[in-house]
Symmetry: C2
Subunit: 133 residues, 2 copies
DNA sequence: ATGCTTTAAGACTATTTTAGTCTTAAAAAG
DNA sequence: CTTTTTAAGACTAAAATAGTCTTAAAGCAT
């Protein structure tokens, strides 16, 4: 029932970038790695995922690096988690309908599905802006 | 961001027992294993945990087995998850305060802590009774 | 008492996921 | 065309999850 460390790192690094966003500066992975104390190569994969999901812009070559693709208020906690570890599930059943097959089982699922929807809408409420403002 | 399979099993087996609760019957592990299609030894550990946390009563020896220790409406989804996998955490930081150390970091934590509290209170809303009624 | 049946506890193993590294390629700038 | 940067994905290490097995202990029946 936990987010992965990669998600934690993602939030940390995004908050850092967002906090300097006014200058529209572009940050190199290596630089972010040191500033945020995140292993360099691992951070590479995280930044790639964030870029693929249109949270960051990445630019290669000299003068390359990463910057936000959206305003901090348009990047929610949910967006970050989803980008890094895929959509939120509460249990396996929600994904694999064959995992359980009893009639009560489905009622367990429908409750866990409600819990999941609430969790998602809760995570959508908070954005990077809430952290840096 | 998922509950473990052991939790899924726990909900399944508890719902089964609760659904027959009126008869105050006592179920053997072996019996439950077959009825709920859960590996026998693994189910043993799950039932033990539920008994330790006062959700089930266990009795040894001939005529022994497991039954509910409380009314189905007094066993919430949260109780079950907590019994099986310990208290809910959203990320490591909530447990290990040294994991992050930036000033913004703490603000990330305080938001994740809110999300966590909401999740817990949501899981407390639903009980076994909601499934079997 | 002494078997027989049941759970308790915990060591052990296997599998899967998470965390992290490394290597090669591709793009951009000078 | 060389340097600097990210992209992609294979690879490895470590940790958590899932599950088994063995030995003990408790309760019932004869």
């Amino acid at each position: 029932m936990k987010i992965t460390r990669a998600c934690d790192y993602a939030l940390k690094v995004l908050v850092y970038i967002a906090s300097e966003n006014n200058k529209n500066k572009i940050f190199m992975r290596n630089e972010l790695s040191k500033l945020c104390d995140i292993p360099d190569s691992f951070l590479g994969k995280i930044l790639q995922a964030l870029a693929r999901e249109n949270i960051l812009v990445s630019e290669r070559g000299k003068k390359g690096g990463f910057k936000l693709q959206k305003k901090p208020e348009d990047i929610s906690f949910y967006d970050v988690i989803k980008a890094v570890e895929g959509d939120i599930t509460i249990n396996d059943c929600l994904v694999d309908k064959n995992f359980c097959n009893s009639s009560y089982g489905c009622r367990i699922q429908s409750i866990l599905e409600k819990v999941r929807q609430n969790l998602i809408s809760d995570l959508k409420k908070y954005s990077l802006e809430d952290i840096i403002s």
